[in-house]
């Protein structure tokens, strides 16, 4: 019997090629989508699970209140970790890390800028699973000025040489000895490093700073005992804080608590300030794309159901005969289920092929490194089997029950009113497909619109043709005039300025005590050290007062400028001439410096548009200016950059020029959103494509079923346009209904997404309408082929052999 099922299934499959193709291809695309997203989701969940102790590692975070501002951050102070190992028996070990800024690293004649250097305690090799390939000391990171490099880095600097024992020079000043080579960290790791420097080095550089409890600049990881409950440990933190730094905190007016983040949930569930790893994901996207995967698969299943029931008439006779010959209904149901599972398995095979082709494309869009080689083969095969059978049953059960319910007498008399164009279920499924499609189209539009809005929004300064040089180095920072003189002589350079902060790439905050307030009542405010050219070079507009001036010598020691938001926050009507105090950067915490406000600038965006503009103050300075800002003319920018490079070579021969353009930096910030937009775009195309394949199938059967009706109507005088209208009306109604349902869904979802941005677009209705019209146009185009053919057909033929 089973063999008979198979034979019938295969013959049906090969006899109705278009139908089979639509069914199998549709399901395959749906499955490929689903598999792709599953791979991605699996990858997202795999982050940091490769560590043997993954379930026992926690990140120490602070929940603090500093100068009225609440800060939740994954940072901590350096003495805390070792003290916890000491105080709490359940804390077995600790690792502290500290990221280094981008610096040049040199070995002999090889110099590279390294972005991913981390200071780490030697315990990083005990707590985490970063296997050492070779080492020259038992504990390679135990001594100051030792460095462990990854395999890749070793190859880059040393080629075939043995790096162990060699000396590398970091930032042109300090020599480190290579004491170990570590495997490259996997991509699904919170840590992404090329080099690990010993944390001990930091002690050697400034022991006092490292022993300071009120200095939250480090990342601390704790390894807990197997039976430890981290919630219980958290409960012990308040008294720990009181014991070790209670008095100091009170003196500074800082409220502080610690909390722990399980390492395995950092990647997807952490959204804290001062996060430095770029490998932070977002659980919302995981949910979102899982949802999309499911929807695309559902659309494909709907197609299957639709097409199979539409073709019911063709199978009715077979059902009737089988029943007459004694088949029970259950036999027929299993026959049809076997058939749909066969379709499903074929689709899965095709899906694998699609997956293999599409994965590189997905990787380039999503910035991921997914591949089939990294999956666990048995579990992957099992998953595929489950999906195939699941989809087969899901898509096959309705048709199976539907077909097997035919009454043999009616069917054999040819009296079956074939599941023509009016089946309610079919309409519902088509509506379902178009709800998904319209939502995705609208989503794509709005995501792109938001990205565009962010890219083009006036930022309050001019980000075009603004080149920033970083890593000026100690010597250059001490002689700013040298840079100004040398570089401003290059023809393409219009203006040049020096400052501490580049807009768009991070901020730095300091306590700000307005006049008339006590020192412990300060406000935390972003600050920028700037020379007198900074504001005009960046194109920030002065609203009141004046800019810093090189002619007024006292500016460097006592002038400041604030932005409008700061004015508003402080509630000053006449800010010019007001004074404030800040901690003196050159001295201990207890000394204060007073500055007088000489000007107010209009608001500008330091941070990407998902953050609101905050209060900012500028300090005129000639030191701490680590960045040079060059406003270039639009003519021959690359030529200008080449000249800059050669000039730079003259000034600092042993260090390459490290620079970026501000507009690029801003664009980078929207990369996540852009990826999202691209993915939404591709998925909406897929959803529509699959939906249209189904629509095409249905419309061909509908047209076939209605041939007689069309013939009669034509004989009675209907014109081709009349007929086309008749055939399109139904689809139009379905799409109109889908639109009405899709609109609130899309509105709700997009509105939630837009909450991520402080500056956002409106959800104007016209774009929803546009999305609906696109869906309608595509659907019309899809059915037009069949409809036009049906409408043009000679009625004589359809009526002849009735």
């Amino acid at each position: 019997m089973f063999r008979n099922f198979l034979i019938i299934s295969f013959r049906n499959l090969t006899r109705n090629k278009t139908y089979s193709l639509i069914n199998i291809a549709g399901l395959a695309i749906g499955m490929a989508c689903c598999l792709m997203i599953m791979l991605w989701v699996q990858n997202e969940y795999s982050y940091d699970r490769f560590h043997e102790n993954a379930d026992r590692i926690y990140r120490l975070c602070i929940d603090g209140k500093v100068s009225g501002r609440i800060v939740q951050a994954p940072i901590s102070n350096s003495p805390a970790g070792p003290a916890m190992v000491n105080d709490f028996p359940e804390v077995i070990n600790t690792v502290r890390t500290n990221n280094m800024p981008t610096i040049p690293v040199k070995y002999q004649d090889r110099v590279f800028f390294e972005e991913n250097i981390i200071y780490a305690d030697n315990s990083i090799f005990d707590v985490f699973t970063f296997p050492l390939i070779s080492k020259s000391e038992e504990s390679p990171l135990a001594r100051p000025y030792t460095i462990v490099i990854t395999e890749n880095t070793a190859k880059r600097y040393f080629g075939d040489e043995n790096p162990l024992g060699k000396t590398m020079r970091l930032n042109n000043e300090l020599d480190y000895t290579v004491t170990g080579i570590v495997e490259n960290p996997p991509t699904n790791s919170l840590f992404d490093f090329e080099m690990l420097c010993s944390f001990e080095t930091r002690y050697a550089e400034n022991r006092e700073l490292l022993e300071e409890w009120i200095n939250f600049s480090y990342f601390t990881y704790l390894l807990l005992d197997e039976n430890a409950d981290y919630k219980k440990l958290e409960a012990k933190f308040p008294s720990f804080i009181e014991d070790h730094m209670g008095e100091r905190l009170a003196a500074f007016g800082i409220g502080l608590d610690y909390f722990l983040q399980p390492l395995t949930s950092v990647h997807l569930f952490s959204s804290l300030e001062f996060e430095e790893s770029e490998n932070i994901g977002n659980i919302t996207y995981v949910y979102l794309f899982s949802g999309i995967a499911l929807f695309v698969l559902l659309i494909a299943c709907f197609n299957f159901i639709n097409l199979t029931t539409a073709r019911a008439a063709a199978r009715a006779k077979e059902v009737g005969l089988r029943k007459t010959l004694g088949a029970r209904k259950s036999k027929l149901i299993s026959q049809f289920l076997v058939e749909s599972i066969i379709y499903s398995v074929f689709s899965m095979l095709l899906a694998l092929l699609i997956l293999e082709i599409a994965l590189p494309v997905l990787n380039s869009i999503a910035g991921s490194e997914l591949s089939l080689t990294s999956v666990n083969i048995p579990s992957f095969l099992l998953t595929m089997l489950i999906i195939s059978i699941g989809v087969g049953i899901l898509a096959g059960s309705y048709p199976a029950f539907f077909l097997s319910a035919f009454s043999p007498v009616r069917v054999l008399k040819g009296n079956l009113r074939a599941g023509g164009s009016r089946s309610k279920l079919r309409s519902v499924l088509v509506i379902g497909q178009f709800i998904i499609s319209i939502t995705l189209i609208a989503g794509t539009f709005f995501i792109y619109k938001q990205i565009n809005y962010m890219k083009n929004k006036k930022l309050g300064f001019d980000k075009e043709q603004l080149l920033v040089m970083r890593e000026l180095g100690e010597s250059l920072q001490q002689s700013p005039d040298l840079i100004r003189d040398k570089l401003s002589r290059i023809p393409g350079v219009e203006k040049i300025a020096l400052g501490s902060v580049s807009l768009g790439s991070g901020t730095s905050a300091s306590v700000f005590v307005p006049e008339g307030y006590a020192e412990d009542q300060g406000i935390l405010m972003n600050h920028i050290y700037a020379d007198y050219n900074y504001i005009p070079t960046l194109g920030i507009e002065i609203a009141q007062g004046r800019n810093f001036s090189s002619d007024i010598k006292s500016d460097v020691s006592d002038a400041a400028i604030i932005n409008e938001t700061a004015v508003k926050l402080l509630g000053w009507e006449n800010p010019i001439g007001k004074t404030f105090k800040i901690p003196d950067p050159g001295a201990d915490n207890s000394e204060w410096e007073t500055r007088k406000i000489v000007g107010v600038v209009k608001d500008f965006h330091i941070e990407p548009l998902n953050r609101e503009i905050g209060p900012v103050f500028f300090i005129n300075a000639n030191e701490e200016l680590s960045l040079a800002f060059l406003r270039l003319s639009t003519v021959d920018i690359s030529g200008t950059v080449d000249q800059l490079k050669s000039k730079w070579g003259e000034i600092t021969p042993d260090q390459p020029m490290n620079f970026f353009f501000v507009d690029d930096e801003f664009d980078k910030m929207y990369r996540a959103e852009e990826r999202m937009g691209k993915l939404a775009f591709y998925f909406s195309i897929l959803a529509i494509f699959i939906g249209c394949m189904g629509l095409f199938g249905i419309s061909s059967y509908a047209a076939e079923q209605r041939t007689k009706e069309i013939g009669i109507r034509k004989v009675l005088g209907a014109t081709v346009p009349n007929i086309l209208r008749l055939l399109s009306r139904e689809v139009m109604v379905l799409i109109a209904v889908s639109f009405v349902i899709a609109w609130p869904i899309a509105y709700y979802a997009l509105n939630r997404w837009l909450q991520n941005f402080a500056y956002r677009i409106n959800l104007d209705f016209s774009i929803f309408i546009f999305a609906g019209l696109i869906a309608l146009a595509i659907a019309m185009l899809t059915i037009s082929f069949q409809s036009i053919r049906a409408a043009l057909a000679n009625p004589v033929k359809s009526l002849k052999y009735e």
Binding site: R713, G717, K800, E802
Partner: protein, 229 residues
């Protein structure tokens, strides 16, 4: 009113060329009732399709009200067809999803006649064909004779000059067949030209002229009597 000269129709399939009609010459005057007879496959239905402007001849001329229509496009043919020609088929060809009333109303819809006028005319025709009681029924709920009466009603609703009937009694028993023939006869008496294909000599008697076709040729024409005016 209808005049065909040297009409020829060839059907071409992938392998075979079939000459369905060859050199047909036929004149039909207004008010005539013409029966077309002949064995299966002699081209009766093809002739009717050509006369009904459902199809174009391969060769020859076709004048309807002195207008040469044999080369007309589908659209032009549909326009002439709409108000001039009514059809009755052997298999009734009613639309299953429409009620009796809606089926009959259909030609008027395509003529763009306003709703109130449509209702009036459909009611009149329902009356005339004695199916008023069934106007809300669907075709499957009717007997064959009733269905064919609906089809006739639909054929005459637009007051066509000519009704083309393709074996209107072929699917009916004699009682219902008689009913339909009476109906056609009375329409003819009221002035409608009728061309009817039939196998039944008895029903052919209803006409005032019989055209015999054989293998695509007109073989004989029997004129029973001069048609009444």
């Amino acid at each position: 009113m209808i005049s065909v000269k040297n009409l020829k129709k060839i059907y071409t399939t992938e392998e075979v060329e079939t000459t369905a009609l060859n050199n047909i010459n036929l004149e039909i005057s207004e008010g005539e009732f013409v029966a077309v007879m002949g064995p299966s496959g002699c081209g009766k239905s093809t002739l009717l399709n050509l006369l009904g402007l459902l199809d174009n001849p391969t060769e020859g001329e076709y004048f309807i009200f002195d207008e040469e229509v044999s080369k007309y496009s589908e659209r032009k043919r549909a326009n002439i067809r709409k108000g001039t020609i009514g059809f009755v088929f052997q298999s009734f060809n009613l639309i299953d999803e429409l009620t009796v009333f809606e089926n009959i109303e259909l030609p008027l819809l395509y003529l763009g006649i306003p709703k109130s006028e449509r209702k009036k005319r459909v009611d009149e025709v329902l009356e005339k064909t004695q199916i008023t009681a069934r106007k809300k029924h669907f075709p499957q709920q009717l007997s064959g004779g009733q269905q064919q009466r609906v089809a006739v009603a639909r054929a005459v609703i637009a007051n066509p000059k000519v009704i083309l009937a393709d074996e209107p009694t072929g699917n009916l028993d004699s009682k219902h067949g008689d009913e339909v023939m009476q109906l056609l006869s009375s329409l003819n008496e009221a002035g409608t030209t009728i061309v009817m294909v039939t196998h039944s000599p008895t029903y052919a008697e209803y006409g005032n002229r019989t055209v015999h076709l054989f293998d695509g040729h007109v073989v004989t024409e029997n004129i029973k009597e001069q048609f009444h005016v």
